[in-house]
């Protein structure tokens, strides 16, 4: 049986407004496949699960189609829907033991659908229930226990046995492993695979990205009731949508070594007001300040478009839902609602429905962009080849660490990337534009986007400048229109960001009166004051003592989350790289020998040089 959800929209009525829980969701669940539905809490995952059983509360309005085989659940009356429940689709509900009636034994509850739905005699129903439970490793004694007498894993298996008792073609798993230890979790994951092998369709609702990646075939990422990305579940670590990437970075999996990220801001509720003039209002759920983005309906037909209508039919749209939290959102993102498109092929026709979903993404910019792209870039100094042709991509919002021995060409590559050096051959593009060309046409605009921190801080600052002048210099150069007060304000902010003093006396000091650590931070403040998109830093913390280094690195990571700052960091310190890098690029003798997710590179190095570096780092 194929399950198809077409343009499903669910709103909840609440007092004077309506809450949009699902917004034109398309999803297919094919036999033999596990589909993971991932997203933050409140994104509509559970609503979708309930809708598949027709169990939404009376306050919910449903539009669109839910096809369980041939039957459209939304078109059936309650009696007919009740006929389909548990036969066509069964659910393993979340909440574990709370999902079982405390007053009855597990066995009775497992056997109940057989008896009431199929009219099986008590004795036989119990035998079959016992067999089903035994298959999941629950013996006769455990089957006769009350829910409160079972462990979390036993309850979960009991719930699964109950869901399987009528052998339904569709199984909905709502956070099935939320409260389980990882052994039980793995056990269940294997079970799910076995069920898929029996040609069942499984919908795995979860916020556990590791489980989704490990268990599911495909994944649908949902944000505020809207599907943001479809992708093969195995590629969740290479997801493209900024939301998915941020979600993945927030997830404490064993395959990430760096510190947890997060997603800036909070999720909103989507409230549709009954008042005709004010159609869309978005609320912070638990933010400190309540921000109401009220938009007149006339400008935004998308939000009150008749569900089922093709969204491309609406010219001006309300913008991307994720834009307020997205670090790479442009003005256009706030104006135009992006359509769901096949990755990198915006002009391609809608994907073939019968093939399920390939990698599709709802992002105007096609997902996280490659901010920096080096193609066959090489550099020689006279007869010495400092850099052999190198390919390197840097995705927006990523922290990439260049590691390698001294003289391996790290600094050369970094400076090429920053546009501080011209490559001999090959090209470097930044934000989709050729770097060299950009610098010729708009040197100031480019300079403002790329911040550089040099290896020798003391030499990077003019000794005739005061602290204030040093930090203010980039702005003085690029924004001569800025008045003195604004300039001072930004200098002070920048200094405070790198934890430097902001008193007037300090501002009047000269570099020679400062120690090396302070100068290093001064350089950082100078690089950050122009709010660059890319920060290329060559050993930025080598001159700092560990406590200050920790603070500065934390600051950089915070900027990554809040502003989407992309970092290209040259370091020889693998320990440091391990803590902050999303990606590692290893260099040896002017060649990029290995590049990949930091965790993978560190745990399974593919190149002998990497292994050598790791070995050296662990022994010292």
């Amino acid at each position: 049986m194929k399950t198809e959800i077409k343009q499903l929209t669910v709103t909840y009525r609440e007092d004077d407004h309506r809450l949009l829980a699902l917004d034109r969701v398309d999803l297919q669940l094919l036999p033999g496949r596990i589909t993971a539905l991932v997203g933050e809490s409140g994104s509509g995952k559970t609503t979708l699960g309930k809708a598949l059983l027709g169990l939404l509360p009376p306050a919910a309005t449903v539009d669109g189609q839910i096809l369980l085989g041939e039957d459209d659940l939304t078109a059936l009356d309650e009696t007919a829907r009740n006929q389909l429940r548990w036969r066509r689709a069964a659910v393993v509900p979340q909440n574990g033991a709370a999902a079982l009636n405390p007053a009855y034994r597990l066995l009775d509850q497992v056997a109940e659908p057989l008896r009431r739905q199929r009219g099986v005699k008590r004795r036989e129903a119990e035998e079959r229930a016992l067999a089903g439970l035994a298959e999941l490793g629950l013996d006769r004694d455990q089957a006769r226990r009350y829910p409160h007498e079972l462990s979390g894993g036993q309850v979960q298996r009991g719930l699964l046995a109950m869901a399987l008792i009528l052998d339904p073609p569709l199984l909905i798993l709502d956070e099935p492993t939320a409260a389980l230890d990882c052994l039980s979790k793995n056990h269940l994951a294997q079970l799910f695979r076995r069920l898929a092998a029996q040609q069942k369709s499984l919908l795995l609702i979860t916020h556990d990205l590791a489980l989704a990646r490990q268990t599911a075939d495909q994944a649908a990422v949902i944000y505020l009731g809207r599907i943001m990305e479809y992708l093969p579940a195995g590629q969740l670590d290479r997801a493209r949508h900024p939301y998915t990437v941020a979600l993945y970075r927030s997830f404490p999996g064993m395959d990430a070594v760096r510190d947890l990220g997060g997603i800036r801001g909070d999720a909103f509720y989507r409230l549709l007001h009954a008042h005709p003039a004010v159609n869309v209002q978005q609320h912070r759920t638990c933010g400190h300040d309540h921000q109401h983005l009220v938009t007149p309906a006339s400008n935004h037909p998308e939000e009150h478009a008749p569900p089922g209508a093709d969204e491309d039919g609406h010219a001006p749209a309300a913008g991307c839902l994720f834009a307020p939290r997205c670090t790479q959102a442009e003005d256009a993102c706030r104006r135009e609602a992006p359509a769901l498109n096949r990755l990198r092929e915006p002009d391609a026709p809608q994907p073939d429905i019968d093939q399920g979903h390939e990698h599709q993404i709802r992002c105007r910019r096609g997902g996280i962009i490659d901010l920096l792209c080096c193609r066959k870039t090489s550099k020689s100094y006279g007869p010495v080849t400092a850099l052999h042709p190198v390919d390197l991509e840097l995705r927006a919002g990523e922290v990439c660490c260049l590691v390698g021995e001294s003289g391996s060409g790290k600094t050369t590559l970094a400076m090429l990337a920053a546009g501080a050096l011209e490559p001999d051959r090959g090209r470097v593009s930044f934000a989709g534009r050729d770097l060299a060309d950009w610098r010729r046409r708009d040197p100031l605009g480019l300079a403002a986007r790329i911040g550089i921190i040099h290896q020798q801080p003391a030499e990077a600052v003019s000794h005739r400048f005061t602290v204030f002048e040093i930090v203010a210099e980039p702005l003085r150069i690029q924004r001569p229109d800025l008045d003195a007060a604004a300039l001072e304000q930004r200098v002070l902010t920048s200094l405070a960001e790198v934890r430097l003093a902001t008193q007037p006396e300090f501002l009047r000091r000269y570099p020679h009166q400062l120690n090396l650590g302070a100068i290093q931070r001064l350089c950082l403040a100078r690089a950050l004051i122009q709010q660059p998109q890319l920060l290329v830093a060559d050993e930025p913390t080598s001159a700092l003592d560990p406590s200050v280094q920790a603070k500065v690195l934390k600051l950089l990571l915070e900027l990554q989350i809040e502003k989407g700052l992309t970092l290209l960091l040259v370091t020889h310190d693998l320990g440091l790289a391990r803590k902050i890098a999303d990606r590692l690029a290893v260099m040896e003798a002017g060649r990029l020998v290995e590049s990949g997710p930091a965790a993978r590179v560190l745990s399974r190095p593919a190149h002998s040089c990497t292994a050598r570096l790791i070995a050296a780092a662990t022994t010292t």
Partner: protein, 319 residues
């Protein structure tokens, strides 16, 4: 919601306290037992009667003898009515049991079903009216509703008898007798049901509303079970527990009203007997009625606690 019952020993100790009071209170009165118990009543004993009594009772009894007396129905002698107390009490007891038993049964069943159905239709107009009406009714004491019902249906309209449990000297039997009994029972019964039903209704409804939002109920619905089965087998059964627990706690409160209702309708049960005895300060009768009522109540509470244990597997099956 507190669904826990009192521990079982509490009932035993409470029973001991009541027996102890019935034994100890007379001792605190001035004078010896006879003087204390009979002296203050409105019945004047002549010397012969007093001598006979003293001989009968053999002076002040010990606690063991008092206990033995309780067990052997030797509860003293009502001088006001010239009858052994045990006979008076045992004559009145069946009528009280009939009245209160029927009232509680009706109020429980009706209140429970109404509560379940109201919760199922929560948010509807009928439910709101039900909750409002029940809250109003809860504020009406039995004294008020009883007297009003008496005035209206017995005195004014004359549909029901104004007192008694049967028509005196009618010598009825079989069907007509039963009808006669029911005819007499109707008004006090209605008063009590009106007093008990709202509490049961509101408690059931509150419990049900909580259960209706619980995950296991959603599971039951997802299983495609027939709606009545979901409502009663899965939801209502669990809503019954707090109602039962509360029933025990409310019983002491409810008995208060029952005493009054019997008196208002001159129903020949324990309440009326107590009223008469208080009127003539017939202390042995008061003592016996109070003790019997208390022990019966404790027994019912004990039974409820045991039932609760059976119904709620989380408490455990062992006593």
């Amino acid at each position: 919601m507190n669904t826990r019952h009192q521990p079982l020993y509490a009932y035993l100790l409470a029973a001991l306290v009541m027996v102890g009071l019935s034994y100890g209170l007379p001792l605190l009165l001035p004078g010896d037992y006879i003087e204390a118990v009979y002296g203050s009543s409105q019945v004047v004993l002549d010397a012969e009667q007093e001598a006979q009594l003293r001989q009968e009772l053999g002076g002040r009894k010990g606690f063991a003898a008092h206990l033995w007396g309780l067990v052997t129905l030797d509860w003293g002698h009502s001088l006001a009515l010239q009858t052994p107390v045990s006979r008076l009490v045992l004559e009145a007891l069946p009528w009280t049991l009939l009245l209160l038993g029927t009232a509680h049964l009706l109020a429980l069943v009706l209140g429970f079903i109404a509560g379940v159905e109201a919760a199922w239709r929560r948010g509807g107009r009928l439910e709101k009216a039900g909750v409002g009406g029940a809250t109003m009714l809860q504020g009406v004491p039995e004294i008020g509703s009883g007297v009003l019902l008496l005035l209206l249906f017995a005195y004014h309209l004359g549909w029901f008898p104004a007192g008694g449990a049967t028509t005196a000297y009618a010598e009825l039997s079989g069907g007509p007798w039963l009808l006669d009994v029911l005819h007499h029972l109707a008004l006090p019964l209605l008063t009590l049901v009106l007093a008990y039903l709202p509490g049961n209704f509101l408690l059931t409804r509150a419990g049900m509303v909580m259960i209706l939002g619980s995950p296991y109920l959603e599971t039951a619905r997802a299983k495609g079970l027939p709606p009545l089965r979901v409502r009663y087998v899965h939801a209502a059964r669990n809503a019954l527990l707090p109602v039962l627990t509360r029933f025990g706690l409310r019983l002491a409160f409810m008995i208060t009203g029952a005493l009054v209702v019997e008196t208002i309708f001159a129903y020949p049960g324990l309440g009326t007997l107590l009223f008469t005895a208080i009127g003539s300060r017939d202390l042995p009768v008061i003592q016996a009625v109070v003790l019997l009522a208390a022990l019966l109540m404790l027994l019912i509470n004990l039974g409820l606690a045991l039932l609760h244990r059976r119904l709620d597997p989380r408490i455990g099956h062992a006593l």
